[in-house]
C-alpha cells in the first residue's frame, strides 16, 4: 500500500460563533489516490478542508492533522501551502482585480516556478494563455475555475484539495474539469475532492467518505459507494422501488444515522 499523505485523526472543529461543526472526523489520503468527500449542504466539508489548511484560527479544537507525518495543527495556511498541500477553495478565491497573468504570478511568490512549469500548466488550460492581460474578475465561471486550478498547480503540491470545483458550471465545463483531474491523478497527483456532484466524483475517485452533520457516516472504495443504496438515493438521485403503499417517502430515510 502506498504511503499515507494526509491523516486526519478525531478532529473536532468549529467557529467562534458555532463551536462544534466537526464532531470527531478521521480520514486518510494515500499517495496517488483520488479521495472523494461527499455530504449534503452544511455537513462540514468545507470546514474540514479549512481546518486542514489552518484557515480557522485556533482550530482544530481536538484531534490531529498530519501531512507526511508532520503535524499541521497550529501552522499558518501559507506555511502549510509551502509544505506541499494546496487548496482550491470554495468560490475559487481568484483576485478579480488582478490580471490573469498576475494571478498566476502570485503562485510563484513563495517559491519560484520556471518558465516550463508555467508552460506545462498553460498547455493544460490554453484559454488562460489568451487571457493573460484580462482582469480575472471578467473571466467566465469556468475560466475562473481553471485559473484557480492552474494557480494551485503552479505551487507544485503533492496533495491537491478541491472544494466543489464543479459548482455552478455547465455540464460540458464540469466534464472538462473532471477530465483534467483524472489526468492529473494519472500523472501522479494525489487529490482530495469535495463534491456535490457525487456521480462524477465517484467516477474519478478510488475511495470515498460520506460526511453528515459533522460525522463520517460511511466510507469505502468508490465502486462500493456507488452501489450503496443510501448513497444512490441521497447523492446519486436513483429512484428506489415504490413502497408497498405506492408512494415514495417524502424524505429518504438514512440507514446509517
Amino acid at each position: 500500500m502506498s504511503a499515507e499523505l494526509l491523516s486526519v485523526r478525531n478532529v473536532e472543529a468549529g467557529y467562534r460563533r458555532r463551536l462544534v461543526v466537526l464532531r470527531g472526523v478521521s480520514l486518510s489520503v494515500r499517495e496517488g489516490q483520488v479521495v472523494a468527500l461527499l455530504g449534503s449542504n452544511g455537513a462540514g466539508k468545507t470546514t474540514l478542508l479549512r481546518t486542514v489548511m489552518g484557515l480557522i484560527p485556533d482550530q482544530p479544537e481536538k484531534g490531529e492533522v498530519r501531512f507526511r507525518g508532520a503535524l499541521l495543527n497550529g501552522r499558518d495556511p501559507d506555511a502549510i501551502t509551502r509544505l506541499g498541500v494546496a487548496l482550491v477553495p470554495e468560490g475559487r478565491g481568484i483576485f478579480p482585480e488582478l490580471t490573469v497573468a498576475e494571478n498566476l504570478q502570485l503562485a510563484g511568490y513563495a517559491r519560484r516556478y520556471t518558465r516550463s512549469d508555467l508552460d506545462a500548466v498553460l498547455d493544460r488550460f490554453p484559454v488562460l494563455r489568451e487571457r493573460g492581460r484580462q482582469l480575472a474578475g471578467t473571466l467566465s465561471g469556468g475560466e475562473q475555475q481553471m485559473l484557480a486550478v492552474a494557480r494551485a498547480l503552479l505551487l507544485r503540491p503533492s496533495l491537491l484539495l478541491l472544494d466543489e470545483p464543479s459548482l455552478g458550471l455547465a455540464p460540458r465545463v464540469v466534464a472538462e474539469i473532471f477530465s483534467t483531474l483524472r489526468s492529473l491523478n494519472q500523472e501522479g497527483m494525489t487529490l482530495l475532492l469535495v463534491e456535490q456532484n457525487a456521480r462524477m466524483a465517484l467516477e474519478v475517485a478510488h475511495y470515498g467518505y460520506v460526511l453528515e452533520a459533522g460525522r463520517l457516516v460511511l466510507e469505502g472504495p468508490a465502486d462500493r459507494l456507488r452501489e450503496d443504496p443510501n448513497v444512490q438515493e441521497l447523492y446519486l438521485g436513483v429512484q428506489r422501488e415504490a413502497s408497498p403503499k405506492g408512494f415514495r417517502r417524502w424524505r429518504p430515510k438514512r440507514r446509517w444515522a
Binding site: 495556511p77 501551502t81 494546496a86 482585480e97 503562485a107 511568490y109 513563495a110
Partner: protein, 291 residues
C-alpha cells in the same frame, strides 16, 4: 490671472503633502480596513527621530532615512502587537486601538522631546525663490512638491511593478486566497504598515520646516490627508493623490478669494459633501463587501 496661478501653485505644493499623508491612510485602509488615527502621530514621530539624528551630527539624508525607518518600524510594530490581535474584534475596537496609540505616541513625544515648537532644518531655502511668469515659488515649496511627486511615483512603481507590490494588492483583495498561494499575508501586511509609516514620516519631514515641529504638528495635516483620502475614495491610491492635490488647490483658492479664516473648515466640508453626494469618492468603486 497671475494671482489665480499663484494660488494654484501654492495649493499644489501643500496638496502634494496632503497626498503623501492620504496615501498612508489609504494604503492601510485598503489592505487592512483600518482607519489609522495614529497616522499623523507616526508622521510626527518620524520628524522627531530625524531631528534627533541631525542634532547628533548625522548628515541630512541619513537623518531623514533614520526618521523614515523609525516610523516604519513603529507602524509595523503597532500592527503586529496591537492591530492584528484586535482585528478579529469589532470596527469600534480597532478605532479605539488606533486612537489609543495616537494618544500614547503624543504623550511619548511630549515626554522625550518636550512640547515647545522646534525649528527643523531643511537643505532647501524658503527665501530663495523661483519666478515663472508672475508666479513666485520658494525653493522649499518647489522642493517639497517635487519630493512628494517623486515619492508618489516610487510608491506606484513599488505597488504596480514589484512582487511585494503584487502581494500587497492580492492580500488587500483576498488575504485568505493569498495565503493559499503561499503568500505570508501577515508579513506582507506588516510591510504595508511599515511603508505607510515611512510615507508618513517623509510627509512629516517635509512639513516640519514649514510648520515648526512639536508633538501636535500633524493634527491639521492629518485631517487634510484624511479628507483627501475620502475625496479620492479611500480605496484608491491614484484617488489619494488626486484628492490631495485637489484639496490643496481648492483650499488655496478658497483662502485667496473667500476667507482665510475658514480655510481649515474646507476639508471638513469636503468630507461631508463627498459622503452626501458620492460616498465612494472620485476614484472608489461603489461599496461591495470584500469576499
Amino acid at each position: 490671472m497671475t494671482l489665480a496661478a499663484q494660488y494654484v501653485a501654492n495649493g499644489l505644493a501643500s496638496g502634494g503633502l496632503y497626498a503623501l499623508v492620504a496615501l498612508g491612510i489609504v494604503l492601510l485602509y485598503r489592505s487592512s480596513r483600518v482607519l489609522n488615527f495614529a497616522h499623523g502621530d507616526l508622521c510626527t514621530l518620524g520628524a522627531f527621530l530625524a531631528l534627533s539624528a541631525l542634532q547628533a551630527g548625522w548628515p541630512y539624508a541619513a537623518s531623514v532615512a533614520a526618521g523614515l525607518v523609525g516610523a516604519g518600524l513603529a507602524s509595523a510594530g503597532f500592527y503586529q502587537v496591537l492591530v492584528r490581535p484586535v482585528r478579529e474584534g469589532t470596527v469600534l475596537g480597532l478605532v479605539i486601538t488606533t486612537l489609543g496609540f495616537a494618544l500614547f505616541l503624543g504623550g511619548f513625544m511630549a515626554w522625550v522631546w518636550g512640547t515647545d515648537t522646534k525649528p527643523f532644518p531643511s537643505p532647501m531655502s524658503d527665501v530663495r525663490v523661483y519666478r515663472l511668469g508672475g508666479v513666485v515659488i520658494s525653493e522649499l515649496t518647489a522642493g517639497s512638491l517635487a519630493a512628494a511627486l517623486v515619492l508618489v511615483a516610487l510608491l506606484s512603481l513599488l505597488v504596480q511593478r514589484t512582487p511585494l507590490g503584487l502581494a500587497m494588492r492580492a492580500v488587500a483583495q483576498n488575504p485568505v486566497a493569498a495565503q493559499l498561494l503561499g503568500v505570508p499575508a501577515r508579513r506582507v501586511l506588516a510591510a504595508t504598515w511599515a511603508l505607510a509609516g515611512m510615507l508618513g514620516a517623509s510627509a512629516g519631514v517635509l512639513l516640519a520646516p514649514v510648520l515648526l515641529l512639536d508633538p501636535f504638528m500633524m493634527l491639521d495635516p492629518f485631517l487634510k490627508g484624511f479628507a483627501a483620502a475620502v475625496l479620492g475614495g479611500m480605496d484608491s491610491l491614484p484617488g489619494a493623490v488626486v484628492g490631495g492635490l485637489t484639496l490643496g488647490v481648492a483650499e488655496s483658492l478658497f483662502a485667496g478669494y473667500v476667507s482665510v479664516k475658514f480655510k481649515a473648515t474646507l476639508s471638513f466640508l469636503v468630507i461631508v459633501a463627498v459622503l452626501l453626494l458620492k460616498p465612494e469618492g472620485l476614484f472608489g468603486r461603489p461599496f461591495e463587501r470584500r469576499v
